[in-house]
C-alpha cells in the first residue's frame, strides 16, 4: 500500500469515527420512542391482540426506566355508568391534600411539577375567579373570610379540548371521562389553550418520578408514565374508578367535601346531592361546556 493510500484510508476511518461520535446524542432518542411505538395503531382501531402487545411494551419500558414491574390495564367504560363529581364548598378547608394524593396516584412529574388540581382561595361573597389566589400558604387553613374551590378537569359534556385536537388524540368516553392517548398526542397544546379551566398540563421536559413513589397500578388511558411533549390531565382516576373504586382525591379528603359516583344510579351519592342539595355551580357555566363537575353549598 502506498503512502498516499494509507493516509487516505486512515483519514477516512478517522472521519467516519468522528462522524459517529458527533452523532452520539442521537443514542438518547431511545428514551423518547421506539419503532413499535412509532408504528402503533390508533387506540380505537386496535384489536385486543394489538393492545396486549402495546401493554407489554409499556410494561417493559416502565421496568427498564424505573426498575418496577407495573400492572398496566386497558380499562373500558362500564355499561350504565356515567360519572359525576360533586364538591361541597362549605366543607372544603383548602388543605391541598387532594392535590398531592392525585400527584402520587397518577404518577405526575415531580420536577418540573405537574398537578391536575388547583385549589383557589376566594373571598366570601364572591365567585369571581379573578380574585382567586392559588399560591396561598398560611400557617393554618381555613382562613377566616375565605372559601376554597379546588379546580380540576370538569369532564365537560361539550368539551372544547376535544374539538380542537387535530389528531383525535383526546376524546370523550361513554362514561363521561375525557381521555388522552399519550402515544397519539403530538403535543400541539391546542387543547390546553381551548380549556376554560386550565385543566390540561403539558410535559415540557421528561417527567421525573422518584422510583419509590411510582404507582405500579396503571391504566393505558390513565396514569402510565407520560413522556416529554405530551398533554395530560385529570381522568377521574380511570385505573380506580373503572374498577369501582373512588378516585384518590376523594379518599384522601379529610372533611368529606368530595363526592363521586354514577349519576345514572338513583341511589348513588351524587344523585342524592343533585336531588337534595340546593345550590349548584357549574364553573363558567356561560361557556356552554356543561361540566360533569358540580360545586354545591350546604343548606
Amino acid at each position: 500500500m502506498g503512502r498516499r493510500n494509507f493516509l487516505r484510508s486512515s483519514a477516512a476511518f478517522a472521519g467516519l469515527g468522528a462522524l459517529a461520535a458527533s452523532l452520539s446524542p442521537l443514542r438518547e432518542i431511545g428514551d423518547y420512542s421506539s419503532v413499535d411505538e412509532f408504528m402503533q395503531k390508533y387506540y380505537k382501531e386496535m384489536t385486543p391482540d394489538d393492545m396486549s402487545k402495546v401493554i407489554k411494551r409499556i410494561e417493559n419500558e416502565v421496568q427498564r426506566q424505573y426498575g418496577i414491574r407495573p400492572h398496566v390495564r386497558d380499562l373500558k367504560p362500564m355499561d350504565g355508568v356515567e360519572f359525576v363529581y360533586c364538591l361541597n364548598l362549605t366543607r372544603c378547608i383548602g388543605c391541598r391534600k387532594c392535590v398531592h394524593a392525585c400527584v402520587a396516584e397518577n404518577n405526575q412529574s415531580r420536577n418540573p411539577e405537574i398537578q391536575y388540581i388547583r385549589v383557589l382561595k376566594l373571598p366570601h361573597g364572591s365567585m369571581d375567579i379573578e380574585k382567586a389566589d392559588h399560591l396561598y400558604n398560611p400557617e393554618a387553613v381555613p382562613q377566616k373570610g375565605f372559601f376554597y374551590m379546588p379546580v380540576q378537569c370538569q369532564q365537560c359534556h361539550n368539551p372544547p379540548c376535544v374539538k380542537v385536537c387535530p389528531v383525535h388524540a383526546t376524546w370523550q368516553e361513554k362514561d363521561g371521562i375525557t381521555v388522552i392517548d399519550y402515544d397519539w398526542c403530538i403535543g400541539c397544546r391546542y387543547c390546553e389553550a381551548a380549556c376554560p379551566y386550565w385543566a390540561r398540563r403539558f410535559n415540557f421536559t421528561k417527567p421525573e418520578i422518584p422510583k419509590e413513589r411510582l404507582n405500579p397500578n396503571m391504566a393505558y388511558l390513565g396514569n402510565r408514565p407520560r413522556k416529554q411533549g405530551v398533554m395530560e390531565k385529570c381522568h377521574f382516576c380511570i385505573q380506580r374508578t373503572r374498577v369501582g373504586r373512588y378516585p384518590a382525591c376523594l379518599e384522601v379528603c379529610p372533611v368529606g367535601a368530595r363526592k363521586f359516583g354514577n349519576i345514572l344510579d338513583p341511589d348513588s351519592e351524587v344523585s342524592y346531592i343533585l336531588r337534595e342539595k340546593r345550590i349548584f355551580i357549574q364553573l363558567k357555566e356561560e361557556m356552554g361546556t356543561n361540566p360533569r363537575f358540580f360545586y354545591y353549598f350546604e343548606k
Binding site: P25, P112, R118, Y136, N137, V141, R245, K259, E269
Partner: protein
C-alpha cells in the same frame, strides 16, 4: 477501450487532500467536545417531595368501635374504676354558669356549639350509667353506637351521612365490586369540640417555569 481519463493536476489533488484533512480535523474536534460534555438536559433546582403525611388516608381520630375492633387498650372507657355506681358526679359551674371540667378530665376542652347549652356532660353521657350514652328522648346507646347519638340531634347531617353524602367515604363507589367504608362521626369530629381544627396546608404549587427561584427561599422558611 475508452481512453484513460485525464489525470487531475498535482495541485488540485493536493487541495482535495487539504480539504479532506480539514473536514476530518473538524469532526475530530466536534467529537472531542461532545465526548467531554455528554448531552444532558439543563439542570433544574430540585422541588422537594411532599411530606407523606399529606397522603395519609386514615382518619385522624379513632372511635370506640375502632379501638374495640383493634383490641386496643379500652381502660379510658372504664368509668367506674374512678366513679362510683349509683352516685353520678355532680356538675359544677363557675359564676358565668360555664361548666368546670374537673382536673381528672383536663384533656377535655368543651366547645360543642357556639353557645354553652350543649357543653354539659349529661347531654350525651348517661347519668344513670356512665358506660352508655343517653339521647335527649331517653334512649340508651352503647359507646360503639355514638353516630346514632349524634344523629339524635343532628338529623339532616345524619340523613346525609346515611346516604354517604356527609363525611368521608372510602373504598368502592360501586358497592357490588368491593367494600364501601363509612367513618363514624367521631372519626373526624371530637364530640366535646366538634369543629374540625385548622391545619397546615400542603405546599402550594411551584411556578412551573421558575423552579430555580425556589431554592434560596427554602432555608429561610425553616429557620423560624
Amino acid at each position: 477501450m475508452s481512453p484513460t481519463p485525464k489525470r487531475p493536476s498535482e495541485s488540485s489533488l493536493r487541495r482535495t487532500n487539504w480539504v479532506l484533512a480539514g473536514i476530518t480535523c473538524g469532526f475530530l474536534a466536534l467529537a472531542a467536545v461532545l465526548l467531554a460534555t455528554p448531552w444532558k438536559p439543563a439542570t433544574q433546582a430540585k422541588i422537594p417531595l411532599v411530606d407523606p403525611s399529606f397522603l395519609e388516608q386514615t382518619a385522624w381520630r379513632k372511635s370506640y368501635a375502632d379501638l374495640a375492633r383493634e383490641k386496643a387498650d379500652l381502660s379510658d372507657f372504664q368509668c367506674y374504676v374512678c366513679h362510683e355506681k349509683k352516685n353520678p358526679p355532680p356538675l359544677r359551674y363557675d359564676d358565668q354558669h360555664v361548666l368546670i371540667v374537673p382536673d381528672e378530665h383536663s384533656d377535655i376542652k368543651m366547645g360543642h356549639g357556639t353557645h354553652n347549652r350543649n357543653n354539659l356532660c349529661y347531654n350525651c353521657h348517661n347519668e344513670g350509667n356512665l358506660l352508655t350514652f343517653s339521647t335527649r328522648d331517653g334512649n340508651e346507646l352503647q359507646f360503639a353506637e355514638s353516630s346514632r347519638l349524634c344523629g339524635s340531634c343532628h338529623g339532616p347531617n345524619f340523613r346525609d351521612w346515611e346516604a354517604g353524602v356527609h363525611g368521608r367515604m372510602n373504598g368502592y363507589w360501586n358497592h357490588q365490586l368491593g367494600e364501601f367504608k363509612r367513618l363514624d362521626c367521631v372519626n373526624c369530629h371530637n364530640p366535646h369540640a366538634p369543629r374540625i381544627p385548622t391545619r397546615k396546608p400542603a405546599p402550594p404549587p411551584h411556578p412551573l417555569r421558575q423552579p430555580v427561584l425556589l431554592e434560596p427561599q427554602a432555608p429561610q422558611a425553616t429557620t423560624p
